[in-house]
């Protein structure tokens, strides 16, 4: 026997980098099966698409019908100043609540149904399990989110076409449209992290919606310039800046800085969720 024919035995107990990568691919596949096989995913995404496009069309149509109408001047001025932000801010502003709900549900239903035990028995390493779920969910929301934002943009700009001309080629517009889809993705992860921390559906959804809708109103009541400064760094407020094609006077952050702040909030919550997932009993 020559040494060339000898094959070194590969110990299955020492996973190589290749094995780890294959392992993570398996986790992604499993999480994809999980997410696509429940009705709440389908329904939430349908609500996201229908509400976003529906309200964008409604807003644009009402605006176009009342253009130059009585008392419409301030609104018309706002739209002329940043038509993209106006188009993306209405329908998607409502549709994003579906992303909040789905993000929270994706974690909390694991607990309410007991699937978390099956999941953790199959994947006892908590961090890869959470990471796989986050990657699959983010990819799904990114794809659907970009479809919704581009759809809303084209729909809204087509309806408002005779009053304001807006196209993807104008400065800041492509960034605002693509960025809004990105912000939806981060919002989904933000909601997912809160779902992982709170573990109860009602509590998690209430918290996410509270942070997105209620908190900015409360911090707006703070005295002096406090309100503006605190508000600028709130997750949803900061993340929303990316939807502005033209930076508004008084913005404390640029669109990408705002998006970065939103990402940092989300990353911190995901890290906390991962830490607690390791520590807490399932």
């Amino acid at each position: 026997m020559t040494s060339a024919t000898q094959v070194a035995p590969v110990s299955p107990a020492s996973p190589t980098a290749g094995r780890r990568a294959a392992g993570f691919a398996h986790l992604l596949l499993g999480e994809w099966t999980k997410i696509r096989s429940v009705r709440s995913t389908i329904w939430s995404l349908i609500v996201l698409v229908v509400v976003s496009l529906g309200f964008t069309a409604l807003f644009a149509a009402l605006t176009a019908a009342n253009w130059n109408g009585p008392r419409a001047a301030p609104r018309d001025a706002t739209i002329l100043a940043d038509p993209v932000n106006s188009i993306l801010g209405t329908g998607i502003g409502l549709g994003q609540l579906a992303v909040c709900v789905l993000g929270a549900l994706i974690m909390t239903t694991e607990y309410s149904t007991g699937v978390i035990r099956a999941s953790l028995l199959a994947v006892p390493r908590r961090i890869p399990m959470l990471a796989a779920k986050a990657v699959v969910f983010a990819a799904l929301i990114f794809v659907v989110g970009e479809i919704v934002t581009f759809g809303s943009f084209f729909l809204g700009s087509a309806i408002l076409h005779s009053h304001v001309a807006v196209s993807l080629g104008q400065p800041g517009v492509a960034r605002a449209v693509i960025g809004t889809g990105l912000a939806l993705t981060v919002l989904g992860l933000f909601a997912m992290a809160i779902g992982a921390l709170i573990r109860h559906t009602a509590g998690a959804i209430a918290t996410v919606i509270g942070v997105v809708l209620v908190l900015p109103i409360l911090t707006g009541l703070l005295p002096g310039s406090w309100g503006a400064h605190v508000n600028a760094y709130l997750p949803e407020q900061a993340g929303g800046l990316i939807s502005q094609a033209h930076e508004q006077a008084g913005n404390l952050l640029t669109p990408w800085q705002g998006f970065g702040v939103f990402c940092i909030w989300t990353a911190l919550l995901l890290i906390a969720a991962g830490y607690l997932l390791r520590r807490r009993d399932a």
Binding site: K34, I116, A118, L120, P124
Partner: protein
Amino acid sequence: MIEARDLTKRYGDNTAVDHLSFTVEPGRVTGFLGPNGAGKSTTMRLILGLDRPQSGTATINGRPYRSLTDPLRTVGALLEAKSVHSSRSARNHLLFLAQTQGMPSTRVDEVLDLVGLHAVARKRAGGFSLGMSQRLGIAAAMLGDPQVLLLDEPVNGLDPEGVLWIRNLMKQLASAGKTVFVSSHLMNEMAVTADHLIVIGRGKLIAESSTQEFIARSSDKSVLVRTPDPARLTELILAEGGKVTDGEVAPGEAASSEASKALAVTGLAAPRIGELAASAGVVLHELSPRASLEEAFLELTSGSVEFGTHDPGGQQPGSQQPADEPGHASVAERSAR
């Protein structure tokens, strides 16, 4: 092989598992027995890495569960019946588990066949009966053809046919050299299933022995007799040198009715009691020899019942039988006689 060393788990002030150590050997069915709330499920969750113990270690084939790669290929576990998303199909539930282990989807169909759920594989699991959910849980446990199985109350909610099926499955797996660790709060069920018993109460180890030893130690060889004429029969038995006590201690059964009274007879075999009754013309409604394992078990764990009912007239053994499983209990009892 499963090894628990000095496991302790507290939830607030309540100590669910208290310095528990034991070893579960391969090649036999090991019954994990204890009253409700004794800490059986918690112990299993600790072994499976779902809960973290305050102290102690649990290993499977020498490794903690959380360090296993593709753990379903090593360990199969059935915990509470419902751990499936109600709107997910049985097949998709098993499919995601298989995918995380890098197993092909053909394995999913194999285990669906094994547990007899093929016809409903694409139905929403939310509509499953308790028995079907239990079968789905067993399918999940068998997915990776594991060397070690942990089953928490697997016969819960199953019909007699299902109980028999699980019993045979566990015996087959054990005889194939696998480690089978199965919990129950029913002594009689364990008596016919397990080769070895680990008995706990209030989180502490109470007894560990082979089932045979346990039975030999526990049986008091009494005979239960039911007759409408207890006075005459008692006279006859005492004359033959037997002893008679009230039969009220029989667990899970009505002690006496209007028409007949139950007597526990020791010192005489059942055939002799029958002959005596026949010769004197005394009518018998029942004549059954008992290996009163359930009683022995209750006696063993009576100091350690977490949720015992306190009857002013004394300990009520029947309270250990869950009221919602009459069919199951009677199957187990019958088979133990």
